[in-house]
Amino acid sequence: MSQRAQVLLWGAQRISAMVLALCVVVHLLTIIYAVRSGLSATEILGRTQGSVMWFAFYTLFVIAVAVHAPIGLRTILSETCGWRGRGLDVLTGVIGLSLAMWGMRAVVGVFGAGTA
């Protein structure tokens, strides 16, 4: 990976971290609010499904995570296993894409227009 790409990767992790910091605060408050009276699927989905705002918020959240986490894992793999080079960079990309797709599946399930 070129040095320029390494710097941009570092920058992407920091910028995604700034987005995530805001998302996590909202997420934590939501969790703490949601668990007050126990969790039931009908109640949760009734509140969430079809909400455009929450759909957009959690889409942003998932994208930021999919950028942030793989870059961190790349550093850890390189530092603890001494792994460098193309294989590691490809794996980083694969982890990012998988997280994004798997995460969006969940977002569609919870916030999509489904019938609860």
Partner: protein, 237 residues
């Protein structure tokens, strides 16, 4: 008389600790202890020192697990129970006993473009730089490095990433980036960028924690991270 139980590393990369008993004295430094062992117990013990007053940066060792300058480390500060373990600096190849091979440490200063590059000659008038300017204050904060290698020895990122330039070289680069007379800014920013440069730093702050001159390489490295990112985004490098 009180005695110190001293364990000193003998050998090279492979080796073992050897035990010595050294009389405890008032205002004794760790370097005094090592010198006593070399003069009175075993003259084959190898170690480095020169000035004995915290200027030259040659006597750094690992004392009870922590990298320190030994000439200005009082025994009373580090050996409350009269026990001392003295080893060579970490992260550098050991030549013999307490002497490390510091080539990679200084080679990295060169790789980080630690050399000043100016545009004027001795015939030109001296540059006028306000001591109050932001750049000069940043230089001031990092310029007193004595090159002892304590930060390099204390840094885990150096252990984990052999190519990492390390705190001292990056601190040097940061002082030059802020030297308004210097003309190699872009090359230097490129030299310290990326996975082997400033962006590998995890802000453990071990360098800052251990620097005997109380400098903060961590602060300089953070400055480099920002400067390099800005230069990359603007196309400067």
């Amino acid at each position: 008389m009180e005695t110190l139980q001293v364990r000193i590393w003998r050998g090279a990369e492979q080796g073992d600790f050897q035990d010595f008993e050294v009389p405890r004295q008032e205002s004794q430094t760790v370097l005094d202890v090592v010198t006593y062992v070399q003069r009175k117990c075993d003259s084959t013990l190898s170690y480095r020192f020169a000035c004995r007053v915290g200027v030259c940066g040659s006597c750094a060792m690992t004392v009870n697990g922590v990298s320190r300058w030994t000439c200005r480390t009082h025994v009373s500060k580090v050996a409350a129970d009269n026990k001392l373990e003295i080893a060579p600096l970490r992260n550098l190849p050991v030549i013999k006993d307490l002497v490390t091979d510091m080539r990679e440490f200084f080679d990295k200063w060169a790789r980080a473009r630690g050399r000043f590059t100016g545009s004027t000659t001795r015939k030109d008038p001296l540059a006028r730089i306000s001591p109050e300017s932001k750049e000069r204050k940043r230089v001031e904060a990092g310029i007193e490095c004595i090159g002892c290698g304590v930060c390099y020895s204390a840094c885990d990122v150096v252990s984990w990433n052999k190519d990492y330039l390390g705190p001292a070289a990056l601190n040097r680069a940061w002082t030059l980036i802020n030297d308004v007379r210097d003309t190699a800014r872009a090359e230097r920013l490129a030299a310290v960028a990326g996975d082997a440069g400033c962006h590998a730093c995890h802000t453990h702050i071990s360098c800052t924690e251990r620097c005997p001159m109380r400098l903060s390489p961590t602060a300089g490295i953070a400055g480099l991270k920002r400067a390099v990112l800005a230069a990359t985004l603007s196309g400067e490098i």
